[in-house]
Symmetry: C2
Subunit: 242 residues, 2 copies
């Protein structure tokens, strides 16, 4: 009679406290949180949820890995939006652990970027074309600086995806870029790959300028096919000499 009442909610909530708290905070972030705003301190959250600071910290670690918060030492936890970079990291791990073949990964690049440029060609503005121009100018200027050259190359392709007008497509292309970076580097390092790449990028812009989707697709396909050949030869060389 005087026994404790069975708490069924606890029977179902097998999940440890730190996960429940993490999910609870995540929900609050997604539905009510503004980016860059500061979360209460660990002490405050501890009091607010009625759990120890340990739990709050472990929950924040989960959220940090989910890309939802950024924790600054001595500063606090700030809300951040998960980005394509987070997707890239995750995909990269899967690619490595599942030993997904290079050609399979590169083929996705072709599928996505061809789809992107097809849509971009029909809707790109003059201003956006100019931005692409200056991007290639930057690539040419950074011809000697591999890191910068690579970064601007990646940005070029991401820009086209952005100009497709499809945010999801843009997100995926950006995510794939993180996975593809090693290929892009190999392509630039391959004999003549640096100059050839720049030339092909200009051809892509020229095709876009005609607003003819199929011409743009063809220019992009030509670039990616050539690039893949360069990548393959460069990487097989690397593997042999390694």
């Amino acid at each position: 009679m005087a026994g404790k009442v069975l708490d069924l909610s606890e029977t179902l909530n097998k999940k440890p406290l730190y996960e429940q708290i993490a999910d609870s905070i995540e929900e609050a972030i997604i539905y009510k949180g503004e980016a860059a705003s500061k979360l209460p301190s660990e002490m405050a959250l501890s009091a607010q949820f009625g759990v120890s600071r340990t739990i709050i910290r472990e929950a924040l670690k989960l959220l940090q890995a989910r890309g939802l918060v950024e924790i600054r030492v001595g500063g606090g936890a700030f809300i951040t939006k998960p980005e394509s970079e987070d997707v890239s990291e995750l995909l990269l791990r899967i690619v490595q652990m599942d030993r997904i073949e290079d050609k399979d990964v590169y083929e996705i690049r072709i599928i996505l970027e061809v789809a992107a440029i097809r849509e971009a060609a029909a809707r790109i503005s003059d201003k956006e074309l100019e931005l692409l121009d200056s991007q290639v100018d930057g690539m040419e200027a950074a011809k000697g600086d591999l890191a910068k050259r690579v970064e601007m190359d990646c940005e070029f392709h991401c820009l086209i995806a952005k100009y497709s007008g499809n945010s999801m497509l843009s997100l995926l292309v950006e995510s794939m870029t993180g996975v593809l970076r090693k290929f892009i580097i190999a392509g630039i390092k391959s004999p003549g790959g640096n100059e050839d790449g720049i030339e092909k990028h200009r051809a892509i812009i020229a095709a876009l300028r005609t607003r003819d989707p199929e011409a743009a697709v063809q220019a992009m396909t030509a670039h990616l096919d050539r690039s893949w050949n360069n990548v393959r030869s460069q990487m097989s060389l690397f593997n042999q000499s390694n």
Copy 2:
């Protein structure tokens, strides 16, 4: 003169201990770990790395969120491979927080699945065609059980992606399925959507059986276009009545 010697290693290692430990364990998992194998206990890791159990626990939380380990109460931490489900969760958060439009998301589905079926048509085996048949049989049998019907529908599309022979494409289609689930549900719930879907799936198999890529693409496109119309009308209804 008697000032402390600058410790450059510490200058570079700005990252907190728990992150360093997490990265260290991650590297070990990726390069030397076998799936399902058990990690040392928190106490053992604590001693091994020379840090407190607190740090180990927080590091494990990071790895848990990265999809690299699964922590069982009283059992221990086990190595797991990150899966498409993890990608789905991440993409779903981004889609929600960035308010990416439904049509943009659905369009990616079309792009990926059309690419998948094009490759699958050229290489699918008789046995795989039979498996697709039985999958649709299952969908028909589960016509009344929405949850099961949805799951088998998703599996059907993932199977085709798998039969494309491209692991990366398969991964992305599976990941997108997690994001698209609400659309698939809406499509089935729309008037006639359930039966129509099953019929269209059979048409897809028939097209695949001819091994004609373009015929298969057309069947898939017809299905996805029709489905999208159903989804839109169903979701706008839902939104109005909500």
